[in-house]
C-alpha cells in the first residue's frame, strides 16, 4: 500500500489564485519524500490538504488508503505534523507540551509516561524537560515539535520547512534526527523545503514544484544526472593554447586565456588524467576546481528560474525570529 496517494489535487483561493494546479504523486511506505520549490510554489497548501487542515477545490488524497476528505479524523490519528511556524507552547515546559499532545492523540494513559520519556530521550531533550519552552533555543523547539509528533507513534510524519530559521548547527542536528527516525522506526516522511542542499541530503525522492505544479519527480541523484555532468575548471599559470583533449577525459567547453572548462562525468577520477595530459604537454597548472551539479541546477532546468532568491529567504528568517521573540 502506498503511504500517500494524491490525484489531480487543485486548490483555488478566491477566483484567480491557483495555489495548486492539479498535482499527482505517490509516496512509498518508509520513504522520505521531498516537496521542493520556492516560496509560493504550493508545497504548504499540498501538505495542509493531505493533513486534512484544508479542503481541496478538486482532486483526491489518501494516507495509507484512507481518504482525507471522507475520514479526516482517522487520517489525523495516523500522522504527525510539524508546521512551518514554531508550534510548541512557550508558556509550558517541554514535558507538559508532550503530555498535552499525548492526551489529544488519545495515547493510552498507561503508556503515556513511557512514550513521553522515550520521545524526549530520542530528541535529546531529557535534561531540559522541566524548563519552560520559551527559554529553549530555536533548534530545541524544533526538536520538541518532532518529539510532540512522536508520542503518537505516527506512521507518517509531515515536516513543513523543518530547518527554516535555524542556525547551521541545529539544522544539521534536525537533519540527522529526521534520517535516524526514518531508519529506526521506518517512519514515512514528507518534507517540504526550499533548500536544495537539504533536499539532496535527506530525501529519497523529490518532487520539484513551481507555481502550483510538479515539474518533475525523481531521486536527487538521477535528477542531477539529468542536467549533465561535472564541470572541471583548470587554471594554467601561463596562457597556453589547448584546443582539444584526448578521448575519455571529457568535452572542452571553453578556453579563455589560461582557463579551461571541461564537462565530464565522475570528475574526481578525471582530474589526475587531466593533470598528466597537460603536464606532458609542458604546461604549468595553477589550480583545479570541480563543480558538481546541484538540485539548484535541476530546478533551473525544469522550472526555469532560480529557487534560492536570496532576499526572499532572508525576509523569511527575519519574520521567524520576530515570532519567536514575541512569545
Amino acid at each position: 500500500m502506498k503511504a500517500v496517494e494524491v490525484e489531480n489535487l487543485t486548490k483555488v483561493y478566491g477566483k484567480e489564485t491557483r495555489a495548486l494546479d492539479g498535482i499527482s504523486f505517490s509516496v512509498e511506505d518508509g520513504e522520505i519524500f521531498g516537496l521542493l520549490g520556492p516560496n509560493g510554489a504550493g508545497k504548504t497548501t499540498a501538505i495542509k490538504i493531505i493533513t486534512t487542515l484544508i479542503k481541496p477545490t478538486q482532486g483526491t488524497a489518501s494516507v495509507f488508503g484512507t481518504d482525507v476528505l471522507r475520514r479526516p479524523q482517522q487520517v489525523r490519528q495516523m500522522m504527525g505534523y510539524v508546521p512551518q511556524a514554531i508550534s510548541v507552547d512557550g508558556d509550558l515546559t517541554g514535558y507538559e507540551n508532550l503530555l498535552i499532545f499525548s492526551k489529544l492523540f488519545y495515547v493510552d494513559p498507561k503508556e503515556r509516561q513511557g512514550r513521553i520519556a522515550e520521545a524526549l530521550e530520542f530528541m535529546g531533550l531529557t535534561d531540559r524537560a522541566d524548563d519552560l519552552v520559551k527559554h529553549y533555543s530555536g533548534g530545541m523547539m524544533r526538536r520538541l515539535e518532532i518529539a510532540q509528533a512522536l508520542v503518537n507513534r505516527p506512521r507518517i510524519l509531515f515536516l513543513d520547512e523543518p530547518s527554516i530559521g535555524l542556525d547551521p548547527f541545529s539544522k544539521n542536528e534536525v537533519k540527522n534526527q529526521v534520517k535516524e527516525l526514518n531508519k529506526e522506526l521506518n517512519m514515512t516522511m514528507i518534507v517540504t523545503t526550499h533548500d536544495m542542499m537539504e533536499a539532496d541530503e535527506i530525501c529519497d525522492r523529490v518532487a520539484i514544484m513551481n507555481a502550483g505544479r510538479i515539474a518533475v519527480i525523481d531521486t536527487p541523484a538521477r535528477l542531477k544526472e539529468s542536467v549533465g555532468g561535472d564541470i572541471i575548471t583548470v587554471k594554467l599559470s601561463q596562457s597556453a593554447v589547448v584546443t582539444s583533449l584526448p578521448g575519455g577525459i571529457g568535452k572542452l567547453l571553453s578556453w579563455e586565456g589560461g582557463e579551461l572548462r571541461i564537462l565530464t562525468e565522475s570528475g574526481e577520477e578525471k582530474i589526475p588524467r587531466i593533470i598528466d595530459y597537460l603536464e606532458a604537454k609542458g604546461m604549468v597548472i595553477g589550480s583545479i576546481s570541480l563543480a558538481k551539479p546541484t538540485l539548484d541546477d535541476v530546478f533551473i532546468k525544469y522550472a526555469g528560474s532560480r529557487v534560492d532568491q536570496g532576499s526572499f529567504v532572508a525576509a523569511r528568517s527575519e519574520r521567524r525570529t520576530f515570532t519567536r521573540r514575541g512569545r
Binding site: 505534523y81 508546521p83 511556524a85 509550558l92 492526551k103 489529544l104 519552560l132
Partner: protein, 256 residues
C-alpha cells in the same frame, strides 16, 4: 467512545491553560485591578445615591455581582486574541492536526477561558469579603455562582472566537473588543437597574446575555429569591450553546 474522547480533549485543552496560569499568573492579577477599582471607588462614591440600589441593600452590595460579571466578561471577550496569536505562531494548526474533534478544541478553549474567569471570581469574592460587602456566602450559592461564571466565560469566549475567525488579526480583535465591552456592560443591569434605563436601551438590555447573568448572580448572592433563575439560566445556556456551536464550525477559517 467518541464522546468520551471529546470530553478528554476538552479537559486537556483546559488543563493546558491551568498549567500556564500556574507558571505565570501575573496577567490575571493585573486584570483584577479594574474590578477592584469599580468596587472601591465607583461603588464607594455612588453608595450615597439611594435610588440606584433596591430597598434594603447598599449600592456596594448591588454592584458586587455586576462587577463580577463584568470582569469575567472582559477576560472572555478578549479571548479571541489568544486564538489569533496561537494561529499566528502555528499552535492552532498543530491542535487542529490532532485527531481531537474540532468542536472539542473550541469548547476546550472556551473552558480554558472559564479557568481564567474562575480565577477572577475568586479574587473578587476575596476582595468583597475583605472590604466587608455583605453577600450570601453559603456553599450552594457560591457553587452556583461559579457555575454561572464558567458558562458566562464560555459564552463570550466562544463569541470572541467567532469574531476572531472573521477578523483574523490581533489588532482588529483589540479594536472590536474595545467596541463591544462597554456597550455590553452599560446595556445591562450590572451597575444600575434596567428600570432606570430609557425605553430603547431596555430592549437592548433584554437581548444582552449579561443582563441575565447579573440577574442570576444577584439572586444567588443578594436576595436568595430564585424565581427568575430558570429563565436566566435558560437564556445563558441558549446563548452559550449557540455561540460554541457556531465557533466550532467557523474556527477552521483561521487555518485556511
Amino acid at each position: 467512545m467518541s464522546f468520551s474522547r471529546s470530553v478528554t480533549s476538552v479537559f486537556t485543552i483546559a488543563e493546558m491553560e491551568a498549567r500556564k496560569i500556574r507558571h505565570d499568573s501575573t496577567e490575571l492579577w493585573m486584570r483584577a485591578v479594574q474590578p477592584a477599582l469599580w468596587l472601591l471607588i465607583f461603588g464607594e462614591v455612588l453608595n450615597s445615591v439611594k435610588a440606584l440600589a433596591p430597598a434594603g441593600y447598599s449600592y456596594m452590595q448591588y454592584i458586587a455581582p455586576g462587577v463580577l460579571a463584568q470582569s469575567v466578561l472582559f477576560v472572555s471577550i478578549f479571548y479571541g486574541i489568544t486564538i489569533v496569536w496561537e494561529r499566528d505562531v502555528g499552535l492552532l494548526t498543530k491542535l487542529l492536526s490532532t485527531p481531537s474533534p474540532r468542536s472539542s478544541i473550541v469548547i476546550g478553549k472556551a473552558l480554558a477561558s472559564a479557568v481564567r474567569g474562575v480565577f477572577q471570581a475568586v479574587v473578587i469574592f476575596a476582595l468583597s469579603f475583605l472590604i466587608g460587602i455583605n453577600l450570601r456566602f453559603n456553599v450552594i450559592d457560591i457553587l452556583g455562582v461559579f457555575g454561572i461564571v464558567v458558562m458566562l466565560s464560555m459564552c463570550f469566549s466562544s463569541f470572541s472566537m467567532i469574531l476572531a475567525s472573521i477578523l483574523k488579526t490581533r489588532d482588529r480583535m483589540m479594536g472590536i473588543g474595545q467596541v463591544l465591552t462597554m456597550p455590553l456592560f452599560f446595556a445591562s443591569s450590572a451597575i444600575y437597574p434596567i428600570s432606570l434605563m430609557p425605553t430603547w436601551l431596555k430592549y437592548v438590555a433584554y437581548v444582552n446575555p449579561l443582563s441575565y447573568v447579573v440577574d442570576a448572580l444577584r439572586s444567588l448572592l443578594l436576595t436568595g429569591d430564585y424565581s427568575n433563575l430558570p429563565l436566566d439560566m435558560a437564556a445563558l445556556l441558549l446563548s452559550t450553546v449557540a455561540f460554541a456551536s457556531l465557533a466550532s464550525v467557523v474556527v477552521k477559517r483561521l487555518v485556511q
